[in-house]
């Protein structure tokens, strides 16, 4: 007997490769979306800071705008810089 696979349709869930499960700002899971968004993934991506903390991009942007003087990471209070 010879078995030949001609096509495989699998099922998978996607997830962000991050060192945490949920966003420290909105408390929503990274695999979901921020409270302003309706669609996860491409439409509500994550960004990483140099401090290696990451957030929904919409969450950190909102946070940074609300900071008048210093732009700090809300988790570690280090100066926020986007990681390349």
């Amino acid at each position: 007997m010879k078995v030949r696979i001609k096509g495989w349709t699998g099922v998978a869930t996607w997830r962000w490769v991050a060192n945490d499960d949920s966003c420290g700002i909105c408390r929503m899971p990274f695999d979901g979306c921020c409270s302003d968004c309706r669609l996860p993934g491409d439409d509500c991506p994550l960004v990483w800071g140099c401090c290696s903390h990451c957030f929904h991009i919409h969450c950190i942007m909102k946070w940074l705008q609300s900071q008048q003087l210093h732009q700090q990471c809300p988790m570690c209070r280090q100066e926020w810089k986007f990681k390349e």
């Binding site: 007997m1 078995v3 001609k6 495989w8 962000w16």
Partner: protein, 810 residues
């Protein structure tokens, strides 16, 4: 008093004259009635002279009454008493035919009539006496002495009526009615095809056709009626039988007409029929023949019109309505074909007082015919939908529906597959009235969101709700659309959308159809119905979007430009899900063969490259695999599940496996494995050689047996039906109910606490207290809570008595 009249001899002579003229001794047989007018005047003068007006009148009338009582009436009844005796002597009832009965009655009545008529001159004399002398009689009836006489006659007859008479008069009128009905029906051309042959027997008088005596019967009958009518006896002696014959024939006719057909309105036609029969028969009885009503006494005309409307048309409505009520279950099921019958019933309900009867009859029919385990949920639902539509015809306010359908809803709540069926048919174009309903864009009207009655409802046209309504839901809820009514079975949108989400997930993961157009359309409709903002619907939207995104990612990863394709042994595509938005999956384990894992990993790398910082977690047991199994004598092209593919791949390297060993390499539990392996047994590829040990069956070399014919097993993949074995059709998701049950468990500890402290509580209190203490965490309607508590009762975690829930002892 004048002195000339005072001599005794003269007095006696005068008294004799008076006595004779007024028959004071009751010797009416001597009566000649031949006094001339002059003579009569003299006598009257005489009476006046002696001042005996009152005395003479009293004597004269008394003589008449006594004669009536002692002579005339007994003679009349003697005709029937003889019969009565004969009968008691042992002759059976039929010994005397209707012909004999008719002639007996005719003789008796005409004798009575003659006797009564012979009193008329005497009555006239008495009337003159009253006029001349001012004597008075005890006037019980208006209309003079003649009426008084008739009253006495009636009273005497009545007081002496023998029991057998009712029977005879019944026989008499029945025979006459039969003749009448026969000709009447003949005239209306309603006779059935039985008459295509020349009948041997007359349908009217039962005699041979050539000896038909219908006419004779009619003549005798008319004479008797006329005489009785003149004596004012007709109503008294025959009124009951005249009407009971009509009522009987109306009932029969209505029942026959309405038998098993609901697709025509009958009531107008029946009304006409009744009017014909009633007027015709009353004409024969009261007016001496058909068509005589217009020339009859106005009193008779009034009698006929009144009894037609008050008695017979009313009886028609009653009979029709009760007949239809008995058929109502079928009528409801056959909606919309039965619309005409329903409209009839609606009109009849306004004219009868049968609403309560309708409700209780339909409720019990539903109970016995619908609400038992032998009936499919589909059928119960279909009946419920029909009932919603049909009862709206009867009562647009929805009160009837509410009263009748509560048991159905309660029953449907208890059936596990109800929601699934409703949701499936809502979103399945091939099946349905429900699908059509969904496309009608109206927002849901739900029990759990109280709505005010439409304020634009003009007050001028306001009518009070029917009396039952006060215990029921608000008007707008009662008249909600069908989908709302169905959702209200559960009282919560969430239950429905949860189920929809599960079904959607199953559909996506069993069909792997990347075309989402249809689902998008249904989602749009559901959003209109259930509200844009429902979080569960939002999740469904993301699920559908996942499918579309997956399609795009697959085509990008599998495009020819992608260098990885070289490395892959077979094309891989993937349904990539946003885990947060999908219902939870049943956990199943499966370790895929190395070669498969390698190719899936290649796909994962491609994905990571495409979507930086994101990766995939495969659900190895889910999916669809196209395999080609090449055996010695045949090649199979099959679409199988990953587990099935894994099994057969292991047999490629080694032709004999025990369940034990296979389970350890695949990490699939033995019980599951045993179930999955049957697929390959039915394909004839594997065989169980001893308990739990399977070997590969290669078959004979090609050509050895029947050559090419066996190659018929090959079919192109596109034509091969998805060979998913039966149990694979079961949901891959944890059932919606399981999920909900889990959520509701939050309440359980609170409920136990309450019942420990307060011993026993009704549903409403528990619901109210939960609302207070567990605020906001989980939405739960009272109905849903009841279902939850009832499940606890079934599992003996609670006891339910007298409307109260309590904890079982210890």
């Amino acid at each position: 008093m004048s002195s000339t009249t005072k001599s005794p001899a003269n007095q006696e002579k005068q008294w004799n004259i008076i006595k004779n003229v007024f028959c004071l001794e009751g010797t009416f047989s001597l009566l000649e009635g031949g006094e001339g007018e002059e003579e009569m005047r003299q006598v009257l003068r005489l009476v006046q002279q002696v001042g005996a007006g009152q005395l003479v009148l009293d004597f004269a009338l008394d003589a008449i009454w006594v004669t009536l009582r002692k002579v005339i009436v007994p003679k009349f009844w003697s005709h029937f008493i003889v019969y009565s005796k004969q009968k008691n002597d042992g002759d059976d009832e039929s010994s005397e035919g209707s012909v004999e009965v008719m002639s007996r009655i005719a003789t008796a009545v005409s004798e009575l009539y003659d006797s009564a008529v012979s009193f008329i001159p005497q009555i006239h004399k008495c009337e003159m006496l009253v006029d001349q002398t001012g004597a008075v009689y005890e006037a019980c009836v208006a209309g003079g002495l003649m009426e008084h006489f008739k009253l006495h006659l009636r009273a005497s007859l009545h007081s002496q009526m023998p029991t057998s008479f009712t029977l005879l008069i019944h026989k008499f009128y029945t025979a006459a009615f039969k003749v009448f009905y026969h000709t009447q029906v003949g005239n209306q051309g309603e006779e059935t095809d039985e008459t295509s042959e020349e009948p041997i027997q007359c349908g009217g008088c039962d005699a041979a056709t050539d000896a038909c005596h219908c006419q004779a019967i009619t003549n005798t009958f008319c004479q008797v009626n006329r005489q009785l009518l003149e004596l004012d006896l007709l109503e008294r002696l025959a009124g009951d039988v005249v009407s009971s014959l009509l009522l009987g024939v109306i009932t029969d006719h209505v029942t026959t007409t309405c038998r098993d057909s609901y697709d025509q309105s009958r009531i107008k036609q029946l009304e006409k029929w009744v009017e014909n029969i009633v007027v015709g028969w009353l004409e024969v009885v009261y007016c001496g023949g058909r068509g005589q009503l217009s020339s009859a006494d106005p009193a008779i005309q009034t009698l006929v019109t009144n009894s037609l409307n008050q008695t017979y048309i009313a009886a028609l409505y009653h009979t029709y309505t009760t007949t239809r009520i008995d058929q109502l279950f079928n009528i409801v099921i056959e909606y919309p074909e039965s619309q005409p019958a329903l409209e009839d019933i609606r009109d009849c309900l306004d004219r009868t007082h049968l609403r309560d009867r309708l409700v209780s009859s339909l409720r019990s029919a539903i109970q016995t015919r619908l609400l038992h385990p032998g009936v499919n949920t589909t059928d119960v639902l279909h009946a419920y939908i029909s009932a919603i539509k049909a009862l709206r015809v009867l009562d647009p306010k929805g009160v009837l529906l509410e009263l009748v359908s509560e048991p159905v809803r309660q029953y449907l709540r208890g059936r596990e597959d109800t929601v699934r069926y409703i949701v499936t048919s809502l979103t399945d174009e091939s099946c349905s009235e429900l699908c059509e309903e969904l496309l009608v864009a109206t927002p849901l009207v739900l029990d759990d969101c109280p709505t005010e009655d439409d304020p634009s409802d003009p007050w001028q046209t306001w009518t009070p709700d029917p009396v039952h309504a006060h215990t029921l839901k608000s008007k707008s809820q009662r008249t909600a659309d069908i989908i709302s009514m169905l959702v209200n079975i559960y009282g919560s949108k969430d239950v429905f959308i949860t189920e929809y989400r599960t079904i959607l997930a199953d559909r996506i993961l069993s069909q792997f159809n990347y075309n989402t157009e249809r689902e998008v359309r249904y989602l749009e409709h559901l959003k209109v119905r259930f509200g844009e903002t429902l979080p569960l619907l939002h999740k469904c939207e993301v699920m559908v979007k996942d499918v579309a995104d997956s399609k795009r990612i697959n085509s990008s990863i599998n495009s020819d430009e992608n260098p990885r394709r070289e490395k892959q042994k077979f094309p891989v595509s993937c349904m990539i899900l946003s885990a947060q938005f999908w219902p939870s999956f049943k956990e199943e384990r499966l370790k895929l063969p190395e070669e498969v894992t390698r190719d899936l990993d290649t796909y994962t790398e491609a994905f990571q490259e495409l979507k930086g910082n994101r990766t995939l977690n495969w659900k190895p047991h889910l999916g669809q695999v196209q395999v080609e199994v090449e055996l010695k004598n045949r090649t199979l092209n099959l679409t199988v599940t990953p587990t099935q593919a894994t099994i057969i791949l292991h047999f490629e390297g080694r032709s004999k496996w025990s369940i034990e060993d296979l389970s350890s390499v695949t990490q699939v539990p033995k019980t599951v494995l045993r179930r999955k392996i049957t697929y390959w047994q039915t394909q004839g590829v594997l065989q169980e050689v001893e308990t739990d040990v399977f070997v590969l069956v290669e078959g004979e070399e090609a050509g050895e047996e029947s050559g090419e014919a066996t190659v018929a097993g090959i079919s192109s993949p596109s034509l091969a039906p998805p060979a998913i074995e039966e149990d694979e059709a079961e949901s891959v998701m944890a059932s919606a109910q399981d999920q909900r049950e889990e959520e509701l468990q939050v309440f359980w500890s609170y409920i136990v606490g309450m019942l420990t402290n307060l011993d026993s509580l009704p549903l409403e209190r528990i619901h109210a207290m939960l609302k207070m203490f567990v605020q906001g965490s989980v939405e739960c309607s009272q109905q849903e809570l009841r279902a939850f508590l009832d499940r606890k009762v079934r599992h003996h975690h609670l006891i339910f008595t007298n409307g109260l829930y309590k904890l079982p002892k210890n």
